[in-house]
């Protein structure tokens, strides 16, 4: 098997939730309040091979964005290693690091918030490639035109500002800006979530076309499992900061192994599932400030056993290419 394009080993991210004013005063008065630590991502291993599209899904707050931002290199991990083409970030030379920084780009959910409203589209797209010497001033205009055509935007619009575009077009501008530095790996974080249904399909198609045209590798983060199912080759499911299952897309959707994945998939509304009784997974998502011990899922799991309350199940390969973290080892039926 080829060397992963990007790999994380045991990455962990803790956020310290600072005390608000009321908390600080209470502590000064002797109350027993501490700064709380959010275990956003907890010792995660994940390797993405060149050309692969990995879908990352799970409930709100499970750590998808945090993991994605660490893999994109814009958020330093608390612990663990991030490797680009087999080389750890800590061991890279300056040139290697610069190359890796350009090769990995991120696309965000809110296309408006991530675009500078005072810059024209040509500046937004052209700035980085110019700074990094991918193109010179003379060639810049043609370069921007090309990139705009790549994302199916009319180059005639390049002197406009972001607010003069629709949501779908703005998301294309965001994609164009990322493409302009000729990346190899794109982290797409809820990249179509803010778009209207009819526009989502346009952008999803664009992502699939660009993958072919530019040989791109994606980490595609979405809370929408049908989107993940549509675009990904392999799907990774997170729960409270940990990966609970990872498998080729078709396998994961036709025969989910982990009880959490099973529950999650059962709740996804589908067009071909007509009038029926919804039978939801019980319980609430526990607080990441104080996750349950052992298997994080045990308070909601219909198969929970005594061991699940005390011992964390490790992520194990239980079929070729299919991993699950459960004491049942994937034998919970469907």
């Amino acid at each position: 098997m080829s060397v992963p394009l990007i790999e994380v080993r045991g990455v962990t991210k803790h956020f310290v939730k600072r005390l608000d004013l009321a908390g600080k005063i209470a502590r000064r008065l002797g109350a027993d309040v501490d700064e709380e630590v959010v275990h956003a991502v907890d010792a995660v291993d994940l390797a993405v091979r060149p050309g692969e599209v990995v879908g990352l899904a799970g409930e709100s707050g499970c750590g998808k964005s945090t993991l994605g931002r660490m893999m994109a290199g814009i958020l330093p991990p608390t612990d663990g290693e991030i490797l680009f083409e087999g080389i750890a970030a800590s061991e890279m030379s300056g040139a290697q690091r610069r190359a890796a920084t350009l090769a990995v780009q991120m696309i965000f959910q809110d296309p408006f918030a991530s675009l500078n409203p005072r810059l024209r589209v040509e500046q937004i797209i052209g700035e980085a490639p110019l700074v990094h010497g991918l193109v010179d001033r003379g060639g810049l205009s043609d370069y921007v035109d090309d990139i705009m055509r790549n994302v199916r935007l009319d180059p005639a619009l390049k002197r406009r500002y972001p607010h003069q575009f629709s949501g779908g077009q703005r998301q294309r501008i965001g994609i164009a800006r990322a493409l302009a530095v000729r990346p190899r790996f794109l982290v797409c974080d809820e990249a179509i979530a803010s778009l209207d249904v009819s526009i989502q399909a346009q952008v999803l198609n664009l992502f699939m076309d660009l993958r072919e045209e530019f040989d791109l590798t994606y980490l595609f983060i979405s809370h929408d499992l049908s989107v993940v199912e549509h675009i990904a080759d392999r799907v990774v499911i997170m729960y409270l900061g940990r990966i609970v299952e990872s498998a080729p897309t078709e396998q994961l959707f036709s025969a989910p192994r982990h009880p959490y994945t099973q529950a999650l998939l059962a709740d996804v509304p589908r067009l071909d599932q007509r009038k029926h009784d919804f039978s939801p997974v019980a319980g609430e998502i526990p607080s990441p400030l104080d996750p349950p011990p052992g298997c994080h899922f045990h308070p909601r799991c219909p198969h929970a056993m005594p061991i699940c309350r005390t011992q964390q199940p490790v992520l194990r390969e239980i079929a070729p290419g299919a991993f699950s973290a459960c004491h049942l080892d994937g034998n919970s039926g469907t």
Binding site: D196, I199, A201, V227, S279
Partner: protein, 324 residues
């Protein structure tokens, strides 16, 4: 008698930039115990339709035409007092943002008891017990404790369940749910749909479920109405609309939803952009995005009934071949 009959409803906003015809020809009928899905993309007029039924449209908006009959009683032009009496009592609304319903500075029990006593003379203790039972019915664990909480002490999904409990407190006959699960996780969404479904069935209440998510209404609704630019362009029994869509917009919308059998393939995409409500094209509003558009479409398509129980606004529907 139908619970609700909406005919030719038109609600316009008279803004400085021009007249926004947010709702411009909406017709549907709702029977007792029926669940209707109202789908359409952002800005198509779903919320304004719901607000119009509840008499909640504020200036610069105004109902400029049509009729809304609740059990035969005309609500368009009815006195505010009568509408207030119906709201939160016979007709309830659940909003996308639970904080539209909840008061952040009052405890849940205070709000629920108030909601009961506003419409009925009930001793406080009896009202409190009804509130507690209401929370239990929407699947909130230890309801007695939750009653003492303030809204901010509850999770988003929990808060939304409280608003559902409030909506059902006075056993309404009609519930209008406006994207109540859009911001929530699928697991929480399933819990909320489950509760709403159950209460509707037990009490025979009719419900309008507003959403942009066709998959949600596929599993929930008896009938579907598809809105585009202020009009219902297609309506019918859920199975008919999803399996045999007639309107090109419905066909496009269904084709753009990712599903297992389209995995890895290009999705059918509706070309163009969502319409600018201030500058709609003449004739059929979908014309500039429609592959089937022809000269006839320069005129406004009226409502036809292509099959029993179905309604359509289109000159060249699918399933019926376009003359060459």
């Amino acid at each position: 008698m139908s619970v609700l009959e909406v005919a030719g409803l038109r609600t316009h906003f008279f803004t400085r930039a021009g007249v926004v015809k947010a709702v411009d020809g909406v017709d549907f009928t709702l029977q007792r115990g029926e669940v209707m899905g109202l789908v359409g993309e952002s800005g198509s007029g779903k919320t304004v339709t719901g607000f119009s039924i509840l008499g909640l449209v504020d200036p610069p908006g105004r109902i400029v035409g049509g009729s809304i009959r609740y059990r035969g009683e005309e609500l368009v032009g009815a006195p505010d007092e009568r509408l207030r009496e119906l709201r939160g009592n016979r007709i309830a609304m659940i909003f996308q943002d639970p904080m539209m319903t909840l008061n952040p500075v009052l405890r849940i029990d205070t709000q629920m008891v108030e909601a009961i006593q506003a419409h009925e003379r009930v001793p406080k203790k009896a009202a409190w017990e009804r509130a507690r039972d209401g929370l239990g019915q929407v699947g909130i664990p230890s309801p007695e404790e939750r009653l003492r909480a303030y809204p901010h002490q509850l999770s988003g999904g929990m808060r939304q369940r409280v608003t559902i409990a409030i909506a059902f407190l006075n056993a309404p006959e009609l519930i209008i749910a406006d994207e109540p699960t859009t911001a929530l996780d699928v697991t929480i969404q399933a819990q909320i749909i489950y509760q709403a479904q159950k209460v509707c069935r037990e009490r025979g209440a009719a419900m309008i479920w507003i959403t942009h998510d066709l998959a949600v209404v596929a599993g929930l609704a008896d009938r579907i109405c598809v809105m585009y630019a202020g009009r219902i362009v297609e309506a019918g029994p859920t199975d008919d609309v999803i399996d045999r869509p007639l309107h090109p917009y419905t066909v496009g919308l269904l084709g753009s939803v990712p599903s297992a059998n389209k995995r890895g393939q290009r999705l059918n995409q509706i070309p163009g952009m969502t319409p600018n409500m201030l500058a709609l094209p003449k004739g059929c509003a979908f014309r500039e995005r429609c592959a089937r558009a022809g000269d006839a479409c320069l005129a406004e398509p009226g409502i036809t009934e292509p099959a029993a129980g179905r309604a359509l606004r289109c000159f060249h529907p699918h399933g019926i071949e376009v003359p060459a």
